[in-house]
Symmetry: C2
Subunit: 200 residues, 2 copies
Amino acid sequence: MQYSSALLEAVIAELTRLPGLGRKSAQRIAFHLLRSGEADAKRLAQAILDLKARVQDCHVCGNVTETQPCALCADTRRDATTICVVEQPMDVLAIERTGEYRGVYHVLKGALSPIDGIGPEQLKLAELISRVKSSGAVEVIVATNPTAQGEATALYIARLLQGVPGVRVTRIARGVPMGSDLEFSDQVTLARAMSGRKEI
Amino acid sequence: MQYSSALLEAVIAELTRLPGLGRKSAQRIAFHLLRSGEADAKRLAQAILDLKARVQDCHVCGNVTETQPCALCADTRRDATTICVVEQPMDVLAIERTGEYRGVYHVLKGALSPIDGIGPEQLKLAELISRVKSSGAVEVIVATNPTAQGEATALYIARLLQGVPGVRVTRIARGVPMGSDLEFSDQVTLARAMSGRKEI
């Protein structure tokens, strides 16, 4: 690498630190930036700087936003009595894409994982409980990931909210994904799909 | 997407314009930048800006550089009488990685492709010819890609340099790649490997 441009190497090194980008992809992107117009590269750099400078967490739900509260929390057409709990802001985007949900969200910023040192204090759990109590919520849909950590977090939330009157805690359905082949489903998913069966 | 942060969407949009990044990967990177330290994101943005502001083409070989001539051309230990012709600066990196080549390079900035409007004038061919004539080169190794365009360019270069005395024009070997299975080699490659056979 000694003969490459140091500045080019710097871009490649920074790109390699991003998730999902190996040396080859980073190199391809760096050369693309080098070839592309000055304006394109500047716009990317500026967008990154703006992101860090101005995007923050919504004080109400923890989702990413530039305004307080976020557009979702501020939207009076949304049902504020139904709160969907997710691990990350990306999960909000994923659920919004379905177009099926009209309630609000609560972003935990992770899931319980003692092995990684993530206990209840590292998550936005206290905020969730006080929000549920003060907002007159009637349903809390726990949409944490169907992983060991996500399931543990869901159970923990259910226990925390057990004493709160008038609040139903539900969990998103886990089963075989639409469009998949039973043959290729793992046994845990298939067992869950069997036990979670419903009358047609 | 109406509920996402506009600034976050801007970063995702800019990232999606880069080669090899789809919406999902761009989203993952954008959220990673959002979570990562301020310094990390700034370093990436600055590296991109520096790249555009200060990296240029070497006036001699056309490779990317911050100095004139580039470190490769300036290195007196390299054999300046052997010139390896490649399509892009990335190819220089690839050949340098082998550690086997001690000559210099000439970057064409593409390959002949009439269908894309790329003729001899769009490539650094005139520069190559005058460089070969003036530098006392004894060998020009044509290392353009083994594609239709790269092969056409190689033949074109060979014809251009036919009249120049004392210059040998060679082409990198094309055949079955090391570590591959003959069974999975395409027929053009295999035919080339057969016709290009050498005594052991």
